[in-house]
Amino acid sequence: MPENVSVQSPAVLADMGISERSEGISATLRKLGTLARQNPLGTVGLIIILVFAGAALLAPYLAPYSATALSGAKNEGMSSAHLFGTEVVGRDIFSRVMFGGRISMSVAFISVIGGASAGMLIGIISGYFGGTIDSIIQRTVDTAIAFPALLLLLIVTQLLGPSFRTIVFALTLAVIPGVARIVRGAVLSEKNNQYVEAARSTGAWAPRILLRHILPNVIALGIIVMTTLLGGIILAEASLAFLGLGVPNAASWGRDVSDARLAFPYHIPSAIFPGAAITLTVLGFNILGDSIRDIADPRLRGSR
């Protein structure tokens, strides 16, 4: 480390790629601790998500049985061998709940990140350039937002044939318009700021202004919107799976709820646990999203 570095301010040090490591980690942890104490609900949401994400990620190692193994008799009750019992063909429900999160969460994360990125790009273009481009994009967005989302998802997945890729594609399409609308609004208020004008007066061309000056200022908003969308996308994926248009041959919470109707007489654990897993995961994402929005915009606190 060069000698004169220590006289620099922390911000400059950070820019130079040097951080005060030894203090950095404990300070960050302390900040996180305070943040968690100030937002107990958000912390609960985060913990729920971490538990389900961990269970999904580690399912191949931790689950007592494989998702497809016929490990018991049909419709067994809850026991130590089968914590949640077994379902209509004798597969272990606890293991299926663990494995079921894999599809739900990966589909949700990929399509929300993809859709939000595309939506942000479209929103930035629409808001920054205005005029005809803006009106064409906005009218399209109007129509897309108003059109029944589930019907759109059903049409796209059924026509392209349900598979991991087509479901991600359909959900990505569903995410784009809402994000584009919100980001456009932010860009409209952002582009009249003096620093944008200053950049323009130096002769910077549009892509540079968009990427260097506007994007960093709307990206935080984009991340907040992404968190609030995740819960809804998991619900949408589960609904598709419930209707039989989910990822074929994969353990899925939505399809397991649907299968629970096949048991005769009805078997309560098969109906309860997969649905409870969906509800808890969506709940986790929703309250975490609310919390993150409150942190970003304290004026909204307690209004929801």
Partner: protein
Amino acid sequence: MQTFILRRLLSGVIILFVLSVTVFLLLRIVPGDPAIRRCGLNCTRAGIDAIHLELGLDKPYFPVELRRGPPFLSFSKDSQYGHYIARVLKGNLGTSELNHKPVGEQIISRLPVTVEIMVITLLFTILIGIPFGIISATLRNSPIDYIVRSSSVLGLAIPSFWVATLVLVLPSEFWGYAPPIGRKIALMDDPIGNFKQVAPAAAVLALGSAAGIMRLTRSSLLEVMRQDYMRTARAKGLQERAVILKHGLKNSMIPVITVLGLQVSGLLGGAIIVEQIFTLPGLGDFTLRSLVLKDYDVVQTMTLYAGVTVVAMNLLVDVSYAWLDPRIRYS
């Protein structure tokens, strides 16, 4: 106002036109040829060609199409879309492959079920969502407020298909009761029996939408209660009840009406789910079954039907703004 409505109707027609072109194209560019299924086993190339000829699938898609080489545009009077739209405008929506009956006839017989589900759902949503939202906002941070807020957070997270499944499974296990499923009882024949069939489906759907409306009514009313005119209304000696209901509520309804309008479009999707679970023969069930068959005529018609509903709802919502807030004028 009249010019505004006319302009919106015109833009609605444009939206429906774009929607019909998009779906028309989507149905034709995806893999899967309806002729192959019609042709059945032992199908030959010549057999498929004959069916293409019979269904008109050998013709160009649109009256105007782009070409790779000059002159870059090609025109034809005899295109698939041209025939389709001419037929639809004459009121012929085609034939369903499900039972080889006219699509229009099927929609008319199935429409009442879906409309009933949606109307009752909206009634439940409004009757639960708005009053509890008001109570929650006026008694902010009271135990009731916390209960309302937690139940709305929960209501937004619970999948409607799970609740519907539990409504089927739990009562049958514990009380030996099953909601009446199966053939639909007509409203006119037996209003009570009919309500018993539709109400569980509507109640399940209303759970999510009422939660959303409850939350929104609360936050919107809280926002309004911060306004100066609310203080003025209190200062001139109005009772709190009158302040909230006369000055607060009406002003807080604009976002609520907007979301209610959007929920109608969501309910079109929700109807597909509850009609499956409670086996109600409505439009949602028809749509899903026809989609699985890749039935061109029905899927096209159902998207147009959804489009018409949405355009009409949006217009209704916009017109209601002017009634709720006289400052909003359309010219």
